[in-house]
Chain length 503, copies 2
Amino acid sequence: MRHTAPLNAHLMGIDTHEEPIVFMRSDCAICRAEGFSANTRLQVQAGERSLIANLNIVSPEVLEEDHIGFSDSAWAFLDLSEGQRVHVRHAPLVRSLSALRKKIYGHELNALEINTIIRDIGRRLYSDIEIASFLTASAAGHLTAAEVTAMTRAMVNSGNQLHWTGADRVFDKHCIGGLPGNRTTPIVISIASAAGLMIPKTSSRAITSPAGTADTMEVLTEVDLSLEQLQRVVEQTGACLAAGGKVDLSPVDDLLIRIERALDLDSPGQLVASVLSKKVAAGSNHILIDMPVGPTAKLRSREEADELAALFRQVANAMGLHLHCVITDGTQAIGYGVGPMEEARDVLAVLRNSVEAPSDLAERSLFLAANLLAMDSGEPLDVTIPRAREILYSGQAWQQFQRICHAQGGLKPLAEAPHHSCLRAQRTGKLGAMDNRRLAQLAKLAGAPSSPLAGLRLHVKVGDSVIPGQPLATLFADTPGELAYARDYYHQNRDLFDIESAS
Amino acid sequence: MRHTAPLNAHLMGIDTHEEPIVFMRSDCAICRAEGFSANTRLQVQAGERSLIANLNIVSPEVLEEDHIGFSDSAWAFLDLSEGQRVHVRHAPLVRSLSALRKKIYGHELNALEINTIIRDIGRRLYSDIEIASFLTASAAGHLTAAEVTAMTRAMVNSGNQLHWTGADRVFDKHCIGGLPGNRTTPIVISIASAAGLMIPKTSSRAITSPAGTADTMEVLTEVDLSLEQLQRVVEQTGACLAAGGKVDLSPVDDLLIRIERALDLDSPGQLVASVLSKKVAAGSNHILIDMPVGPTAKLRSREEADELAALFRQVANAMGLHLHCVITDGTQAIGYGVGPMEEARDVLAVLRNSVEAPSDLAERSLFLAANLLAMDSGEPLDVTIPRAREILYSGQAWQQFQRICHAQGGLKPLAEAPHHSCLRAQRTGKLGAMDNRRLAQLAKLAGAPSSPLAGLRLHVKVGDSVIPGQPLATLFADTPGELAYARDYYHQNRDLFDIESAS
């Protein structure tokens, strides 16, 4: 294909999220000669780097002549500088799209086909609608365990991989999620690593929830570690509590998750590949999966959880991983705090054995830590639960947590949001249930997780009796506007706390 | 949901094609308070109109404070004026997405569910990735005939519908496509309407081919008729040869086709719903489907054509339509011209019975016209073919074509492209085949259909003997650059003409 005249690169100052967009003028000679129009897929060549982007057409006043504009993510991916000369042409055929079509037609793909799809997504050759099509065709149990295994391997290969010397067994834990305040990870990691397990934990930031483990840990210490920093922390302490972003483990997973969340698609195959690829890339080989089941949790029924656990086990076996799934109670929020700072407050209370420590968070963390210890030693839970309890109650877990935080850059003090508002009960009764999804929404409207101080603190748990005027929760926000926005939502959704009349 | 402070609308001068995009500043207080970030789905309210759009975040220098930018299509859909006050909020839940998820899980949808999906797509509530997900879930025979019927009805209801008085039977024809130069429609419509059939034909412009019927007819007369103009032309002549765009028949089809083409998805269900919804909306009840079958046509095999024909018949029966499918030869381009002007030249040659008239185009048109006459009278083809031939050879078809063109605004003179270049054979042999897809690509690289004079003219057909230096085709282009671009492509793709050595 012959090259067209070069164009001068210009950063538009437009953040289109991950989808790369280029901007060309409607009167551009190249557009006319090549037959480019809005939404044409173009290949942009900038020195050694190239990328496929969607074209937007702009009016002449928006862009100088002989210039081509780039969205933030396209600019970063090509590592451009202002005025740099680039060439464009029609995007070449992406060959793995024929494998995608095969999947759409309901055929099983072989490992090579899955590998090329994942590789091409990683090279940014797929448009968002092509990724959406791939996710749809692989959703809803349309992937076999062999396909999920191939996808997991391909996703591991798409990014960095960590290798740990000095330990045969490297542990990790993962929660399927959906419970606000369920911040067991910092406690579990502290107990398990205090017991001598190597457990290098990288976590994601929240995507749709009011806080991820990385958001909560960021309130307490540095989490954006480089690969070298992370390795040093794990060497010093046997563990870490870092954010996954900078370390670039299974980066294709991030590209897929973005579209999956936008589609609100539940895909067991994608979920298993996503979780296991991150763990394998982090060098783990012993993995504990926490599966909360409840009417407003992610997993709604025991059957759904059993099916997912079976797929997890099949893929883990094929990959040579030791994996254990535990099904836990997912009926209500865990602890009292929801949002980065309020969850951090609960975590510290448990680690410090304070009187305010929420016992459900403590018990849950002990149960999970004991399962990790049992995976390591082969002993039954009635041996490992007391051991985990001893580590927590003796203060060893708290010391270990401080060691990890110091290795990551120091322990930060807790703080409180400048604005708060109390949500009160209107009638007498017993709290029968709370809606996890709407509780999460409430904390997000108050500003969590982008405002780490924002969120809420529960004052009641399921089973508690309440009377009119009794505080159910306190909202925290950075600004009066956000506080008002969340309070309005609560007034329209009072039934997220289901108060059963005494009969 | 409470309203946020108003923002002032600004037209960005960015054409993002059909996907509506809004642009807000990264330092915007509303973004922060509402938790908006790049790719958030927003609902924009502008007076009585509202729309859901994807958010792009821009640097402060790109947009004035308290302003919100709009892409061209979002601006047009909301009918905005500069500085108009608009409100934004998080997009509400689109309820039909739960029906989409049901389809992804492989369940059959009922008519109500399909209707709400199509309605919500028409209201621009779906993002491109959601449309891609819907198309993927319904591709590859995943729709039952009942689902396709419901989709056809819903698509008809999404736009205008024409009703014709004075004729019980209203005819239409459609070609599945994939053959360059296959411009039978103007000839078929002229013969059929000269024979007294009512056949109000609206055609699309080319999407991926070097010319659609609307592009070719636009070379010869006005095609962008209003609903009133179109009705007047049909009243006067019993037919029309108009573009479909302005009349707004089955507009959801256009939204679906855009994503379907971008995904290069072949979906029999979508195809049938697309074709039949346009015909029903145009008021037709007797429909002829031309199905060219050949190795480089859209339908590759007889089996594929039979399956598609069966689905067409089932849906047509359910809708109370008379439908007849004919399978035709799809091995090579039809006529000599490819591209709007060169195809128009062939059409006129056939209608005028000139000596240069390509006999394959004439015979094909006669066959299709005779099938329409047979659908009307119930007579066999050996009666209707001679009648069609008589109408063409006697000049009645040519007179009728001129009548239609005059009613649409007059017959324009033919013209020739300013630049041309001859493509010659390099060796001796017989032309065994030609690649329809690459031939179409060649004409598009020369500038067709956006330059109506661009395209190519074949000098050989399959079966002809050639010697080195003999002209195979002439390329036509508006600019030397486009001509060079197409010629280069030919030099890399000489084998699109398969010249078999004499043995």
